[in-house]
């Protein structure tokens, strides 16, 4: 692959990493009483998935994510400033503070929402794809969810319906080995989750989820299948989160040596090593990181300069 494209991936992953680091800083500021409060689920370590996948989506396609969705939103084009403002309860937040870190939506960017109910996004994505059959758009839907979500009943219903109707859905499971605080391999009889695809009669594949190029190739094939009437695909992206399930998770459940290995294999470290080995100058690699951090510093400053959401509007929009 072209070095420039790999550098662009590195920068895109650093943007997510830098956003998440900034969010963590703001969540932990002032002993936890800083600008961001409440439950925050970071995707540090899982940046390759959104970076690889979102480049394969068109403007009319519909992306549905989860509470660990900051990276997916950013990769889809949602501005970092509007996201940080959202997490910090600002009037300028992407939903004016109504969604927060775990449940915001930005349909104007084709990002049709995080979801804080595990597994709930799959049937909704099925509906988005279904609607595309009748409105002439040819839209495909991509829904990302964790390994634990595949143990929800709603997920099963959605996978089956999508397969039965050959709907253009790309089901992306980010398997980070932990369904919240519990090991996924203790919660399933078959830990290779992608194998479930065959039971539904759809294509399935396990993918190196820490390699944006591998993710991109897999999503490209799945999206092409979806767009040409080949029906849905289940992709299992193998990745790790380098942080807790939520900020404050003490992670006593981690297995010995697990995080050390994860840090070796995490997507930014890996791509950085590969680019250096390919002879890319250190200054260019550093620039990919530095620009991301600078952007997020500016985004956070601008976000926090905005006024808090107006309490007088809190009852608006329950009904039309």
């Amino acid at each position: 692959m072209e070095v420039q494209e790999r550098l662009a991936d590195l920068h895109a992953m650093w943007r997510i990493r830098a956003l998440e680091e900034k969010v963590r800083e703001l969540r932990l500021a002032d002993g936890g009483n800083g600008p961001i409060v409440g439950s925050v689920h970071l995707c540090i370590g899982q940046e390759a998935g959104p970076v690889g996948a979102c480049s394969e989506l068109g403007a009319d396609d519909a992306l549905f994510a989860t509470y660990r969705g900051h990276g997916w939103a950013l990769a889809r084009g949602v501005p970092a400033e509007a996201m940080i403002a959202e997490f910090a309860g600002r009037a300028t937040g992407v939903n004016g503070g109504r969604g927060g870190s775990a449940y915001f939506t930005a349909p104007e960017h084709g990002f049709h929402g995080e979801n804080s109910i595990v597994g709930a996004g799959l049937p909704i994505a099925v509906g988005a794809a279904l609607a595309g059959r009748f409105d002439g758009s040819g839209r495909i839907a991509l829904t990302v969810f964790g390994d634990g979500a595949l143990n929800q009943g709603a997920s099963h219903e959605a996978l089956n319906m999508a397969a039965a109707f050959r709907l253009p859905v790309v089901f992306v499971c980010e398997n980070n080995y932990w369904s919240e605080l519990t090991a996924i391999d203790e919660m399933v009889g078959e830990p290779e989750l992608w194998k479930r695809a065959a039971g539904y009669g759809m294509a399935g594949e396990r993918v190196d989820g820490n390699d944006p190029a591998a993710v991109r190739a897999a999503v490209r094939a799945a999206a092409e299948r979806a767009r040409t009437g080949g029906g849905p695909t289940l992709l299992e992206l193998m990745t790790q989160r380098l942080v807790g399930h939520y900020i404050g998770d003490v992670e006593q459940y981690r297995r010995p040596g697990e995080l050390d290995r994860a840090h070796e294999d995490e997507p930014i470290a890996r791509l950085t090593r590969e680019l250096a080995a390919a002879g890319v100058p250190a200054a260019e690699i550093e620039d990919a990181r530095a620009r991301a951090h600078t952007e997020m510093e500016h985004a956070a400053a601008a976000a926090l300069a905005a006024p808090l959401a107006d309490p007088d509007t809190a009852k608006d929009h329950v009904y039309a």
């Binding site: 349909p107 049709h112 709930a120 049937p123 509906g127 609607a131 059959r133 758009s137 709603a154 039309a320």
Partner: protein
């Protein structure tokens, strides 16, 4: 499921009057809506090729093709896909065969559909319409008999209507599908095959929230909804024979609810009874009584709630008969509450 298609041209409704049963009126509304609004889709378990377990959706697949389709027995996928389709600008009309079955998929109604408009500040609403039916019928088991409206009425963001007559069945569905909010239309299977009545079709969608004065009276306001309103009207006639003149208000819509009509009536009669088939505790009758109490209208008798006792619903008709509010028991309870109160 079709390959990629585009929406057909809209066909404006034609005004006419026909004699229809309640179930036929629902069908007529669906015909009108599928023709009038090309963005509508109609789906659910057994609704398309079989025409519905009660025959209510018969003929729609033949007439409207792929926009009417059957689904797996998957309530979460039915409701969740409706939310997703609505987010994309479609108008899904989905059927949950029994209201009891919605309980396996409440997430998609309560956590998803009800939140979509609020969180997005109106930019990404999910105006789905859920047709379902509820209530007891002879021999129906405890999992096919519940009256669950209060569960949904506790949820901000959802609308709910419970039509009892053929005209209301038609109008309620037309209004629901034209509504920008998610609406649950609660029908009643024991009404589908009743007598034919004149139904005006093809009119403009009525604004949600209507109630109907079914019987004017001076002595007590009786508020009711759904099938049991028929029992209330019969009770009112027997009360009249005993000298008690009951005013009967049917709340066709429970959200939005026409409390103005209730309050105005109670201000005249100064007595209130609320009758529903659902069990009493936490029923919407409690809400009606509370709102009347909060309004400051002074009453000449303590308000009365009539409903099923807090019990499960047994299958045997001999067991269930005594549990449900019938005309005689409704009349007796109202008369008992009123007797001895000045007027």
């Amino acid at each position: 499921m079709p390959e990629l298609t585009t929406r057909p041209a809209p066909q404006p409704p034609v005004a006419e009057t026909r004699k229809l049963k309640y179930g036929e009126a629902v069908n007529a509304a669906l015909v009108r809506l599928l023709a009038e609004l090309p963005e509508t889709l109609l789906y659910g378990e057994d609704v398309a090729k079989p025409g519905g377990v009660f025959g209510v959706t018969r003929g729609l697949r033949r007439r409207f093709g792929d926009r009417v389709f059957d689904t797996p027995i998957s309530e979460a996928a039915i409701l969740g896909s409706a939310v997703g389709a609505a987010l994309m600008g479609a108008r899904p009309i989905v059927e949950i065969m029994w209201a009891d079955f919605s309980l396996v998929a409440l997430d998609q109604l309560v956590n998803q559909a009800a939140n979509a408009r609020y969180v997005s500040r109106g930019t990404a609403p999910a105006p789905i319409v859920v047709r379902t039916q509820q209530g007891t019928a002879p021999g129906a088991c405890a999992q096919h008999s519940q009256s669950l409206e209060a569960l949904f009425l506790h949820v901000p963001g959802l609308r709910l209507v419970m039509p009892r007559t053929a005209q209301d069945a038609y109008d309620a569905l037309v209004s629901a599908v034209h509504s920008p909010d998610p609406v649950i239309v609660v029908e009643n299977r024991t009404l589908y095959f009743g007598d034919k009545a004149e139904v005006e079709l093809g009119g403009a969608a009525r604004p949600m929230g209507w109630s109907q004065l079914r019987r004017p009276g001076r002595d007590v306001t009786v508020v009711s909804w759904g099938k049991v309103t028929g029992e209330v009207l019969a009770a009112a006639e027997s009360l009249a024979a005993g000298g008690i003149d009951a005013e009967v208000i049917e709340l066709t819509w429970l959200n939005p609810v026409d409390m103005d009509a209730v309050l105005a009536s109670v201000a005249r009669t100064r007595r209130l009874a609320v009758v529903h088939e659902a069990n009493v505790t936490g029923g919407f009758g409690a809400e009606v009584v509370a709102r009347v109490a909060e309004s400051g209208v002074s009453l000449d008798a303590a308000p009365l709630r009539v409903g099923a006792p807090d019990v499960r619903i047994p299958a045997a008709p001999a067991l269930v008969g005594g549990l449900l509010p019938g005309a005689a028991s409704i009349a007796a309870q109202i008369a008992g509450r009123i007797s001895g109160t000045a007027h």
